[in-house]
Amino acid sequence: MQFPEELRYTQTHEWAKREGNRIRVGITEYAQHEISDVVFIELPKSNAQGVKGKGIAVVESVKAAFDIYAPVSGAVVKVNSALESNPALVNEDPYGRGWFFEIEMKDTAEWDTLLQAEAYKNQCTTTH
């Protein structure tokens, strides 16, 4: 199970990758494994405003729907529309081609509230 060092994480199993004030968001390898086969993705609407900790997208397995929460607040500036026709990318490449959307951070201080790889890894290994 991969927990890339350069990423930050949430307790709700999103990962975030920072480039300047912009962060790219996806779900972790651990999360996709727990969800199992991803068969549907509802991406944020264009111009959606993410609010830290609030649902902004949906990922669905055969059995159930799961909310994806915005790791930080800010405007959604880009979505990965490839997921709409090929949601299995989330299972195949969760940290790469399976990314969900990008947010322009409103308050860059929120970045430091996210978990480091080690802390997130501990959360996964103790809850499982």
Binding site: S36, V39, E42, V58, E60, S61, V62, K63, A65
Partner: protein, 368 residues
């Protein structure tokens, strides 16, 4: 919610096979072993083995058993003979569905009923309250295992294990076999829309039979199947799930089970309402629909049309064999026509769907 869940007799074997365990009613069952999509595909194209030992089994026997069943159940008892089985709804006095079950005739004076796990106590109580003298009702649910062997390659697997001719065993027929695992009932039935068999025997033989089938199926790429794929397979095949797609308040006609009623039979429990609905039409109907817009319908989502509420989704899922999102819902009869467009309220959106013919999926080669 701290009540302990019941476990299948082979729970430990499933855990060793890396089953992902989850809740199904009062039971802890394997939801999937590898993945729901893989398991679904295996049953549609090869073979799969399900442990459905949570299901209930009753024996009904005695000199008056036949006459009693003819009154208790809606189909004509003449349809049954030794080695023949029937799918039937068990109806209440108001014509609602107490359960759906399969009745097997072992001999003219002995019958087996296989009922849903969640309804074992309710069914037993209901049947018991009607049992006349000269009829014995016995609940053997805890003494029996039940497996389903399903998929296009299962005929050769079954023949390799039991060394008998299943080719001439018709759909909804069964054999009573004397084997090294004791007496086994093997029926040509299932809940997947594929060819296949269901195998019932004594609990003490469960492990031996399970391991033998897994072994015998290896060359056919048989795999164990969890309850996740069981649900997608049955939904594609247009088969109903009790407690979701029908309950004590839905009539058999509303649920689309008219074909499982012999309304010309003058006297059986639940006949009146169903007979009236057959003649005059029911106010609502269970329909199948497929999504035209994006989104997966789920149990409980509202069904609407132009701001008018029509009903709710009873079952809904991504359909792996069809690559579509499908569901079942009760809608007013006037809105139940094939081709009618409706909307499913999925979270904050109204997404277009179209009523389609059931079943959603039909295998290309029927069983003789």
């Amino acid at each position: 919610m701290t009540a302990t869940l019941k476990r299948l007799p082979l729970h430990e074997i499933h855990v060793q096979a890396r089953a992902h365990i989850g809740a199904f009613g009062d039971w802890e069952v394997p939801l999937y072993f590898t993945s729901i999509l893989e398991e679904h595909e295996a049953v549609r194209t090869r073979a799969g083995l399900f442990d459905i030992s949570h299901m209930g089994e009753f024996f009904i026997s005695g000199k008056s058993a036949r006459g009693f069943l003819d009154f208790l159940l809606p189909r004509k008892i003449d349809r049954l003979k030794d080695g023949k089985a029937l799918y039937e709804p068990l109806l209440n006095e108001q014509g609602g569905i107490v359960d759906d079950l399969i009745v097997y005739q072992l001999k003219p004076e002995k019958y087996l009923l296989i009922v849903n796990a969640a309804n074992i106590e309710k069914d037993f109580g209901w049947i018991h309250s009607h049992v006349p003298s000269g009829v014995e009702l016995e609940n053997v649910s805890e003494e029996k295992f039940l497996f389903a062997l399903q998929g296009p390659r299962t005929l050769s697997i079954a023949e390799a294990i039991f060394h008998c001719d299943f080719r001439s065993l018709g759909y909804y027929h069964f054999l009573n076999l004397k084997t090294q695992w004791g007496e086994l009932f093997v029926s040509r039935t299932g809940y997947t829309g594929e060819d296949g068999f269901e195998i019932m025997g004594e609990m003490s033989a469960a492990e031996g039979v399970w391991k033998t089938v897994i072994q015998a199926g290896q060359s056919s790429h048989l795999i164990p199947i969890g309850f996740g794929a069981r649900d997608t397979l049955r939904l594609e095949a247009g088969m109903l799930l009790y407690g979701q797609d029908m309950d004590d308040t839905t009539s058999a006609v509303e649920a689309g089970l008219e074909w499982a009623l012999d309304l010309e039979k003058p006297n059986f429990i639940g006949r009146e309402r169903n007979s009236q609905e057959k003649q005059k039409g029911a106010t609502r109907r269970l329909v199948g629909f497929e999504m035209l817009g994006r989104g997966i319908p789920r149990h409980g989502f509202p069904v609407e049309k132009g701001g008018r509420s029509l009903g709710v989704v009873t079952s809904g899922s991504f359909a792996p064999s069809l690559k579509k999102n499908i569901g079942l819902a009760y809608v007013p009869s006037a809105d139940s026509k094939i081709g009618n467009e409706v909307e499913i309220a999925i979270r904050s959106e109204k997404v277009k769907a179209q009523i389609v013919k059931l079943p959603f999926y039909k295998r290309s080669h029927a069983i003789s």
